[in-house]
Symmetry: C2
Subunit: 313 residues, 2 copies
């Protein structure tokens, strides 16, 4: 294994790539086999990767490490702007992960507030808004990027990637939305659809909770440090909230990467889903022919593949 | 909330039910709403629940607690028999969780052995077999229970439940198999399809790895204590294996429940998937109408719903 392959193998482990990773017993590829994910990635071109805009990267510090999230201002412009404002007003610093429900979500919030955060405090901070119109779906615009997956979907007429986020479309209704996959970041809310404001956020940590699609505002996805959420102790109160305050994981702070000193910014690249390498990845995932696989799956679910993330030196 | 509802709510949290549990912000149901899962379960009849055969229950003890798994001897008779034998020969006691790959699997094995366990030691123990024919699929028999899900599937012609395990069917090929969902228990192996023997086992801990269906022998599912696997620290060696031996989680022991003193046996019941209450659960999952949901999903994926498990006093 040369050094490039090693870097890619490492990145595959550290990034959002596990859904593409090897079978439960890893076996080295043979020459006539379908190439491995690491092999395909090692043959990619630099131009197929993009460096996320630091204005769209959130960095949450927990004592166990950092969680890096990419925001999507195209699908949820109002919520993304409000989250950035809340971050810059230091709303989240000192709050906590208050809920970890197995096979469902990890969620953070003001532990002393009602659902939707402490609205009075939010208003007192200055710019951030305490209520926002929902952004569950948006119109299909002509300029929206769309990389359609070929295999169909149970929940939506079409699925694919838009700006490398997993998404769905209903062409008849001219609507599109980001979908809930493992690692999806979205806005918790109360009953009224406009009761979310971005001060309470959750990340999906189990089987894709697709039933939430079009019912909550998805704002992005985790692109690094997912295990700092997914491996947290589960809560044993109702709905996976922690029963005792001391069980919560404190949030040291959340910052917009653009506001961090350059040396502290996440140094990552994301494989463009409209690139030939991503198409190749999809194909090797759909049609594995190697010493291990007896029956290639032939299909790939929208939540069974994610845009790979790599650390750059 | 009366005491019965409380018991059910508690059970919903402790069991394999989170996929059915509430939206990220919990909201009490209103009278005209689709009833909640807890409500539907509280109205079930005792006869709709079954007590699993203690010969089919494995109890793995970790320092953090117990993981209870139900084996399915109908789909994988040879592997289930071999696993029981290995357990009764105390093969697993003192071994370890050697691999936890985020969004993929938690796996246990003999840390000092090659893939497929220590075959020499397995043979030396007496009855257990070191190699077995694969049981990736089995013929559709006339007497096999089958509760078909109505919404289709991306990976298989038909999906549903067989003896309350998530399963798929290809009627044209007269084949059926258990599928990989969150919590599925299956047999790790080397490249040769007959190289698995049940001494190395894994549990799916992320998005359903359906590409493994028909490529590995599924032997059952976790029915209690899932978080003792899913919340383990992730491994940072290749494929999520722990890079350092001291990171592994030791297995204190694994026992067949039938061999435990009665007071130590898991006291659980599983809702029959051919019961009216389970059909009602499916329906409330597919078509939610309440104060929270704006757009009912209308569909349910085979891995988005599981047979509920409850503790019995």
């Amino acid at each position: 294994m040369n050094i490039t392959a090693k870097i890619f193998a490492l990145v595959a482990l550290l990034s959002c790539l596990p859904a593409l990773a090897g079978a439960p017993k890893g076996t080295p590829p043979k020459s006539k086999d379908t190439p491995s994910v690491a092999q395909v990635l090692s043959e990619s071109k630099g131009s197929e990767w993009r460096r996320p805009d630091p204005e769209n990267l959130l960095v949450m510090r927990l004592s166990s490490g950092r969680v890096v999230m990419e925001l999507d201002p195209v699908y949820a412009p109002l919520h993304v702007a409000n989250i950035r404002t809340l971050v810059r007003e230091h709303y989240f610093d000192g709050l906590a992960i208050v809920r970890v429900q197995d096979d469902f979500v990890a969620q953070w919030d003001d532990p002393d507030a009602d659902d939707g955060g402490d609205r009075q405090r939010i208003r007192s901070l200055g710019e951030a808004k305490a209520t926002l119109p929902p952004e569950f779906t948006r119109p299909i615009g002509g300029s929206l990027p769309w990389v359609r997956l070929p295999d169909g979907d149970l929940y939506a007429p079409e699925v694919g990637f838009s700006d490398d986020f997993p998404a769905a479309r209903d062409p008849a209704a001219h609507e599109t939305w980001l979908v809930h996959c493992y690692g999806t970041l979205a806005v918790a809310r109360d009953n009224p659809p406009d009761s979310g404001n971005g001060s309470a956020l959750y990340v999906a940590i189990g089987q894709a909770p697709r039933r939430l699609d079009r019912n909550l505002t998805v704002v992005g996805r985790v692109v690094a440090g997912m295990e700092n959420l997914s491996a947290l102790p589960r809560g044993h109160g109702p709905l996976g909230f922690y029963a005792h305050p001391q069980e919560r994981t404190p949030i040291l702070d959340i910052r917009v990467a653009a506001d961090l000193p350059r040396a502290q910014r996440p140094n990552i690249e994301i494989l463009r889903t409209d690139s030939p390498t991503f198409r190749r990845l999809l194909e090797v995932t759909r049609n594995r022919h190697d010493a291990f696989y007896v029956t290639p799956p032939g299909k790939v679910d929208i939540c069974a593949v994610a845009a790979p993330v790599r650390d750059v030196p």
